[in-house]
């Protein structure tokens, strides 16, 4: 939520920070532990996203439930069969539901299918990434970049203000926020990469510069994707005429608001990983 800002009172900001820290603690613990804890967290978040998506787009109850069943099943397939099979199930289900719904509600048919992909792809991506060798480290880097982008954009944007970034979609986002988000993501990228990959002390200057470039090459595109994801979600809400996607997380709005940056970044990281490494 880059530079969404404009929390009405300082009490609101405090709530936002406290809830944010609590969510981060749960997420960090689940990422570190992996296994069932991580699967449970990601799947729960995905189902909540789907529920909010359905409400936002006014999707009928039967199709809301169908989406939840499909996503839960896809989570199981990802963990117990393979990510490739899960993608096939997800795509086939989205296609089948959309084709069925098309006959009587053409516009919503698209949004049901899109919702399945929007909620399902990041879930498959995160569960798949966490199962790789070094998965804990990879997912930690993903989370750190997205969170840092959010936090940096929020506070820098709020403090500096200045020209608007995308006034028609999200009136509170500023250019200062975007740059703040990227800078924060770079910093977090360095810190977390050094924590999960190489120790910083003892690096030669060349090696540090070399790695700095490497970290920057990864961090900046993902920070931009996180900002784009945030903007996309703002556009969805504007289109649906709501301010927050839900009210589950005090100070943060809904789950969709909270993971709008992470969702596309997780998919992007998984894509890079799958294309760069071996598809196991």
């Amino acid at each position: 939520m880059a530079a969404r800002g404009a929390a009405p009172t300082s009490g609101g900001l405090l709530t936002r920070i406290v809830v944010g820290v609590a969510l981060a603690a749960v997420a960090i613990a689940a990422v570190w532990a992996g296994g069932v804890a991580f699967t449970a967290l990601v799947t729960t978040a995905c189902l909540l996203m789907s529920a909010e998506w359905s409400v936002m787009h006014g999707i009928a109850r039967g199709f809301r439930l169908a989406s939840l069943v499909v996503l839960a099943f896809v989570a199981g397939v990802t963990v117990y069969v393979s990510a490739a099979d899960a993608l096939i199930v997800l795509a086939a289900s989205a296609g089948a539901i959309a084709l069925f719904m098309r006959g009587f509600d053409r516009s919503r048919a698209f949004w049901v299918a899109a919702g399945l992909l929007y909620c399902g792809l990041p879930m498959v991506a995160l569960l798949w990434l966490r199962g790789r060798v070094g998965g804990g480290g990879i997912v930690a880097v993903c989370f750190a970049i997205v969170w840092a982008t959010d936090i940096g954009a929020f506070f820098i944007g709020r403090t500096l203000g200045g020209p608007k970034f995308a006034p028609r979609i999200s009136p509170n986002k500023t250019w200062a926020g975007v740059i703040g988000g990227i800078v924060a993501a770079l910093l977090a990228g360095f810190i977390v990469v050094s924590l999960v990959q190489f120790p910083l002390p003892g690096w030669s200057a060349w090696r540090l510069a070399n790695n700095a470039l490497g970290v920057a090459l990864w961090t900046v595109p993902f920070a931009l994707i996180a900002i784009a994801g945030d903007l996309f979600e703002s556009w969805l809400k504007r289109r649906a005429g709501v301010k927050d996607s839900g009210h589950l997380l005090p100070g943060h709005g809904g789950v969709l608001d909270r993971v709008d940056g992470l969702a596309p970044v997780a998919v992007a990281v998984a894509l890079v990983w799958a294309l760069g490494g071996s598809w196991q």
Binding site: V133, I138, R207, S278
Partner: protein
């Protein structure tokens, strides 16, 4: 016949001693260029005098004075330090045998490969941690890599190097270790002493524990992947308690070739020293009638998870095998110090592999950095499972 020149890196260890034994049996056939050791000055000096080496090197600089005294008046050059180790590897010997234990063996081994020497490799870390670097350097310099390890030596002997596409599978044999028949519950309370009581081979504590967890076999799969042009899917492990068949290679026509021998390292060392010829060694001959039966069984991945971890690291590539190796060394050391249980070894390796993000390995410095970081991470995993 002009004598063949040879350098032995790590002359005072078990493989080094077996090598010197073979050299001393045919003193006229060999001109020893250099011998190295970490700090075992007595053995190194005695060996250097016995084979009349031109140079003796200790890796530990604090041992330099003692070595210099021990070799005073012999005309044997003396040097010390890590750089001197690499210099020794760069000297013009036809064959370099690298038997240094651990990551310390990496720089001198790579130095010999870059020079284009014929290299007999008995140092696991070279291929496990820096396999891509070593094989790339070898194809650039034209160095020939000869595996000393009995399993890889067996594969090397029966592998069709000119037509690798005709090979369908490589099957590495494993003795199964002392807990081949133990349940997981029994293994939970195993002591270092029990783990080191290997049924067939007599080895150091670290490698004995690796044999007991089957991690040793996992590391060998990673080495085999670098030594022979096969995919991870073509590599398999079979448990063979008698350790008479040292490995199999299967071909497209269904033929399976194997190399057999008694468990004596002098056979594979002799093969490497004489390559491409053969030389006589005093190894015990196999009495097939006395052996009567050879048995084979599939490895149990549930009881020996280390095998699966090594396979996962092999498939992941990059820094993963190096992380696996470093974490395993830390975990085994903790087990030998009785800080963690036997089953914790694989669990610590799994934790470390899980939490350290993968990286690419582009240079020896990368390997050193990854190794150091993986050791820190494994240290934390040890602390989390520590009994004390």
């Amino acid at each position: 016949m002009t004598p063949r020149s040879i350098t032995v890196l790590g002359a005072t260890g078990s493989v080094g001693a077996s090598t010197l034994d073979l050299l001393l049996r045919a003193p006229d056939a060999w001109a020893v260029e250099a011998l190295t050791a970490n700090c075992d000055v007595d053995r190194l000096a005695a060996a250097a005098k016995a084979v009349n080496a031109k140079l003796a090197v200790v890796a530990d600089e604090s041992c330099y004075a003692t070595l210099k005294d021990a070799l005073a008046g012999t005309g044997i050059e003396v040097a010390a330090g890590k750089a001197a180790l690499c210099d020794a590897a760069r000297r013009a010997a036809e064959i370099v045998l690298s038997a240094i234990v651990g990551a310390a063996g990496l720089p001198p081994t790579l130095a010999a490969v870059e020079r284009g020497a014929t290299l007999a490799i008995a140092n696991k870390e070279t291929l496990v941690c820096a396999g891509d670097l070593v094989t790339a350097a070898a194809s650039k310099s034209g160095a020939v890599l000869l595996p000393v390890d009995s399993e890889h030596n067996a594969i090397f002997q029966v592998f069709d190097h000119d037509h690798p596409e005709r090979v369908t599978r490589i099957i590495v044999t494993a003795s199964g270790g002392p807990f081949r028949r133990s349940t997981t519950a029994e293994m939970r309370h195993v002591t270092p002493r029990q783990a080191c009581a290997h049924p067939v081979w007599s080895m150091g504590a670290k490698i004995s524990v690796d044999s007991a967890t089957l991690m040793n076999k996992g590391l060998e799969l990673i080495e085999a992947h670098h030594l022979f042009p096969v995919t991870p899917d073509q590599l398999e492990v079979i448990v063979h308690p008698q350790s008479v068949v040292h490995s199999f290679v299967e071909y497209i026509d269904g033929s399976m070739l194997a190399q057999l021998g008694s468990p004596d390292m002098r056979t594979p060392i002799g093969y490497c020293l004489a390559y491409p010829e053969r030389m006589a060694t005093p190894s015990a001959r196999l009495d097939l009638a006395a052996l009567a039966t050879l048995s084979f069984e599939a490895p149990d991945h549930a009881r020996f998870p280390a095998l699966g971890l090594a396979t996962a690291a092999l498939r992941a590539g990059g820094s993963a095998p190096c992380i696996l190796n470093a974490a395993n060394e830390v975990a085994v050391a903790a087990f030998l110090a009785r800080a963690v249980g036997f089953l914790d070894i694989a669990a610590i390796v799994a934790d470390t592999l899980d939490h350290v993000a993968p990286a690419s390995v582009g240079s020896l410095d990368d390997v050193v950095a990854i190794d150091a970081f993986a050791r820190q991470a494994a240290g934390r995993a040890v602390a989390a499972r520590s009994r004390t």
